[in-house]
């Protein structure tokens, strides 16, 4: 019923004179001629005027037009849409943290610094790295920071080098991050198992290559079993191994990147460590490094002496700051809460159950959907629409039809090496019931593709809007509301 209410833009329901907030009367004497000569606005042209009731209705109605993890399975591959624990929301919003100013003197922020230092230590232990910086605020920001660290370390050796090697299965941010760091990207082909082809890698690796950026498990959900050999090849020619930790959810407590030759990596706290995705951020992308790279970490570094914390800015070889203040602090508090709640056994269970759930889905759908690579899956499995294409049905149709069954579709935009990809990452927090609902829906869709493809082309059928014209949106951009003339 509520879906039928077409919620206008707030600007369209605005009426002069309404308001949703009052301020106390001004309690100071007014200085005459204040801001004389400074150009001021005559009014906030276009800003809405509505009541608090209308604000609450507007945002509550809009909220009901969103699908979310709290509602059901969200198997968006490589995004790790796991359950977000509620106590972490409450604790991260505690006034002791939320009311704490980033420029306050260190003696007033000892609790915050303890939070940061403690999480740094936990991440070092989980990832097998020697140090972490918590300043980067997203995965891509972490990648950029990591590449800057590698560049600085190479410059310190005398040569920054020119290229970065990136497998063709990589997430799009990898090449972009390397580029912003001043490197050209060389693509490494995958082999028939969907992993890095060692011969191609050996051929591509030379004294001009700064680093390999590898995601492990990669975006096919496949573990790079040759990772130690890969690291040897890179290290032998003086390069660094960067690991994109987006898929760390498959590894926690089982194996540590630092133990398999990784020199630098980022972790997405909003994936592996359960902090909410917020409709697209805020995230957090801490970067871990081995000893050699510690001198280059962003400033400031938190140091502890006899239980007192201080900030060390005197780091002459540091790459500098990558963000003002201390990163996305309240996201960091949530991740700390999560690790404290789970403990060592719980952290290992993340990987165990994530991999169990993904393999259960894979096994249940094998035969119904095409699996390009037979290599064992870790925390996600990548099918394609190859079988359904015979009936003119694409991965987009399958995705949109899944919505009718009350579920979020899988990732479709990558890996680029699987055409018509359906990249499914259920995560460890899903129940058997929800997994089975998904499996049943996918099987029904596979059947519909053969028998009634039209129902798929026309999907979704039950949403607030039907399929949207994305081509028109890009061709004739309307990017803001404007008052009708």
């Amino acid at each position: 019923m509520i879906k039928e209410i077409r919620e206008p833009l707030i600007f369209e329901i605005s009426e002069a004179g309404k308001r949703a907030a009052e301020l106390p009367p001004l309690d100071v004497p007014e200085r005459k001629g204040l801001l004389a000569g400074v150009p001021l606005r005559s009014e906030l042209e276009g800003f809405p005027e509505v009541s608090e009731t209308e604000i609450t209705r507007h945002f509550t109605r809009l909220s009901q037009k969103n699908y979310c993890v709290d509602l059901g399975l969200y198997p968006l591959g490589s995004c790790t849409m796991k359950y977000n624990p509620k106590v972490n929301e409450r604790l991260s919003a505690h006034p002791a943290f939320a009311g704490s100013h980033p420029l306050a003197p260190v003696e007033l922020i000892q609790g915050n610094l303890e939070v940061l230092k403690t999480l740094e230590g936990f991440l070092c232990e989980i990832a097998g790295m020697d140090a972490f910086t918590l300043q980067p605020v997203a995965g891509a920001h972490g990648e950029l920071t990591g590449m800057m660290l590698i560049r600085a370390a190479l410059e310190a050796r005398g040569d920054a080098r020119k290229h970065v090697l990136i497998p063709d299965s990589a997430h799009g941010t990898n090449p972009s991050s390397a580029h912003i760091c001043g490197y050209t990207v060389k693509e490494i082909k995958s082999n028939e198992n969907g992993t890095i082809d060692l011969a191609s890698l050996e051929q591509a690796m030379d004294g001009e290559v700064a680093a390999l950026m590898v995601t492990n498990p990669n975006t096919l959900g496949v573990f790079e079993s040759d990772i130690c050999r890969i690291a040897e090849i890179i290290h032998a020619k003086g390069g660094f191994v960067y690991m994109d930790g987006a898929n760390m959810n498959a590894l926690t407590g089982i194996v540590r990147p630092g133990d398999m030759g990784v020199d630098v990596m980022h972790i997405n706290l909003h994936k592996t460590f359960s902090t909410p995705h917020g409709g697209g951020g805020p995230g957090s992308g801490p970067v871990g490094v081995k000893k050699e790279l510690i001198p280059f970490l962003p400033v400031p570094i938190i140091v502890e002496k006899a239980g007192r914390y201080a900030l060390d800015f005197n780091r002459p070889r540091s790459i500098g700051r990558v963000r003002a203040y201390f990163g996305n602090f309240s996201v960091i508090v949530r991740a700390l809460c999560y690790i404290l709640t789970l403990g060592p056994k719980g952290i290992r269970e993340i990987a165990e159950f994530a991999v169990l759930n993904a393999n259960y889905v894979r096994k249940s759908l094998e035969g119904e959907f095409h699996l390009k690579y037979a290599t064992p899956s870790m925390h996600e499995c990548v099918f394609s629409d190859k079988f359904q294409k015979e009936f003119g049905v694409t991965n987009l149709d399958i995705a949109k039809r899944l919505i009718d069954f009350g579920m979020h579709p899988p990732t479709m935009s990558f890996p680029l090496i699987v055409h018509g990809a359906l990249m499914i990452e259920p995560t460890e927090t899903e129940s058997r019931r929800d997994l089975d609902m998904f499996i049943d829906a996918m099987k029904t869709i596979a059947k519909e593709a053969k028998e009634n493809p039209e129902i798929l082309h026309a999907a979704p059928h039950v949403t607030y809007v039907s399929r949207l014209d994305e081509v028109a949106a890009a061709k004739f951009p309307v990017l803001r509301w404007e008052k009708k003339a």
Binding site: L9, R41, D70, A96, A98, I109, P276, R348, P477
Partner: protein, 448 residues
């Protein structure tokens, strides 16, 4: 405590269907040699009761909480209406991801569209993106964007730009062949226009300045834009105190080509520096060079209005290394908070809020200026922050004020040695006359 939803029975049956005996067998492709053979060295799992105790105990070590604070410098304590917290805590907003499937994300998408509209209205520019990480990285992105738009490799950056923003810009441009030169400020705290004239040449991509600047002083955006445009460089305005836009003329109306900055002031707690909310608006001719997610309006196949992420050919997942930026995730939930905040305050409320900031800061500047041993340091017009110079060294004064329960401001000497004992004092609408008087009295005691 774990968040696993499978029973032992489920687990057994699922393993049977997969065809393996135990979970460990699923990890067969990880070489035995590198596997972790011991439990992680982490504290034992805690129940919710224990966790709350642990975290609250750490929180109590933040001795600054509850003190009367006059800190600003890019992070401001403002009124946050209860509806902002209440509505933004809904699971439908907190727990989805980037709206890749627009048919089930119309809530987030419509809100982004409203956010973009509000940012355009505040900045006086044609288009805005759906957010960036924060003000510091937004400034760095604006510098890179100016380089792409002009094809030039030099930027003139105001020394009065937030020192941490300048550091971030330096980190970002180091590997990209962009030169940054710094332009100083005069006794009024505004950019030294003669120096700017000398530094601006035909190699300059942009002049990057903050207004109100780090000292709280309002820059002459029109004059700076004219100077930039005379050399065909872009005028890039950075706004670190977004509430000021409720009162000051929109930078776009004064000639700024790109306006970027920090919108933490619009409904986001100071929260030890993050998450915050970067924003960026520009003239429409620069649309294809703008970084970050953008939401656009379109229609569905039944002709109804709807919203989608658009113009993604600028972005990394399509264009890979040729993208305008490597940004993927932005700050959607913070943008939601700012949208609720702006729409709740509304046309009258945001303006009144901004005026209260300016008037209280003016009162505080006059009141503190009358204390013996205090001198107003920079004479230009200010919004809600100002610099004062003290007759005694700041660290000692700071400590003495703290002993009286007051965080008096931010010492400028470390970032600006030329300002010696100057202190930056911020006064928002939340500070009462009584609290301002308390600071004045305390300063009087400490300085006498």
């Amino acid at each position: 405590m774990s968040y696993i939803s499978l029973s032992d029975k489920d687990k057994k049956e699922m393993l049977a269907r997969i065809g393996v005996a135990k979970v460990d067998d699923l990890f067969c492709c990880i070489p035995e040699a590198v596997r972790l053979k011991r439990p992680l060295d982490l504290p034992a799992a805690q129940s919710e009761i224990e966790l709350v105790r642990t975290i609250e105990a750490i929180g109590r070590k933040n001795a600054g909480v509850g003190l009367l604070s006059f800190l600003g410098g890019g992070a401001y304590e403002h009124f946050i209406p209860t509806v902002v917290d209440y509505l933004s805590s809904r699971g439908e907003f907190v727990s989805p991801y980037t709206p890749y499937q627009p048919e089930v994300s119309q809530g987030t998408l419509q809100i982004m569209f409203e956010f973009q509209t509000l940012i355009c209205q505040l900045t006086g520019l044609d288009i805005a993106n759906a957010s960036l990480y924060d003000g510091s990285t937004g400034t760095a992105e604006a510098v890179l964007m100016a380089q792409r738009v002009t094809g030039r490799n030099k930027v003139v950056i105001a020394r009065s730009l937030h020192p941490q923003y300048r550091e971030v810009v330096r980190t970002y441009i180091k590997n990209l062949g962009v030169d940054a030169v710094e332009v100083g400020y005069g006794p009024d705290g505004r950019i030294d226009r003669d120096a700017l004239g000398r530094l601006l040449d035909d190699a300059a991509a942009a002049v990057v300045y903050q207004s109100p600047n780090f000292f709280g002083v309002i820059e002459d955006i029109q004059a700076l834009s004219e100077a930039a445009h005379a050399r065909k460089a872009l005028s890039v305005a950075v706004v670190a105190e977004a509430v000021s836009l409720g009162l000051l003329e929109a930078p776009g109306k004064l000639g700024a080509d790109i306006v970027t900055g920090e919108a933490q002031s619009l409904g986001i707690p100071v929260s030890f520096g993050g998450p915050y909310l970067g924003f960026m608006a520009c003239k429409k001719e620069f649309l294809r060079q703008m970084p970050g997610r953008i939401t656009g309006q379109t229609v569905d196949k039944d002709g109804r209005r709807g919203f989608v992420l658009t113009l993604s050919t600028r972005e990394q997942h399509i264009r890979r290394e040729r993208a305008t930026s490597n940004i993927c995730t932005n700050q959607a939930l913070c943008a939601l908070r700012a949208t609720i905040f702006m729409e709740t305050l509304g046309k009258q409320g945001l303006r009144e809020l901004a005026w209260q900031n300016a008037r209280k800061a003016a009162y505080a500047a006059d009141r503190l200026g009358a204390v013996p041993g205090v001198k107003k340091r920079l004479t230009g017009p200010v919004f809600n922050e100002f610099a004062i110079e003290l007759a005694r060294p700041w660290p000692a004064v700071d400590a003495a004020l703290e002993a009286r329960g007051i965080v008096g401001g931010f010492g400028l000497g470390a970032a600006y040695p030329e300002l010696g004992n100057a202190v930056l004092v911020a006064v928002t609408e939340l500070r009462t006359k009584g609290e301002i008087d308390r600071l004045a009295l305390a300063l009087q005691e400490v300085l006498s």
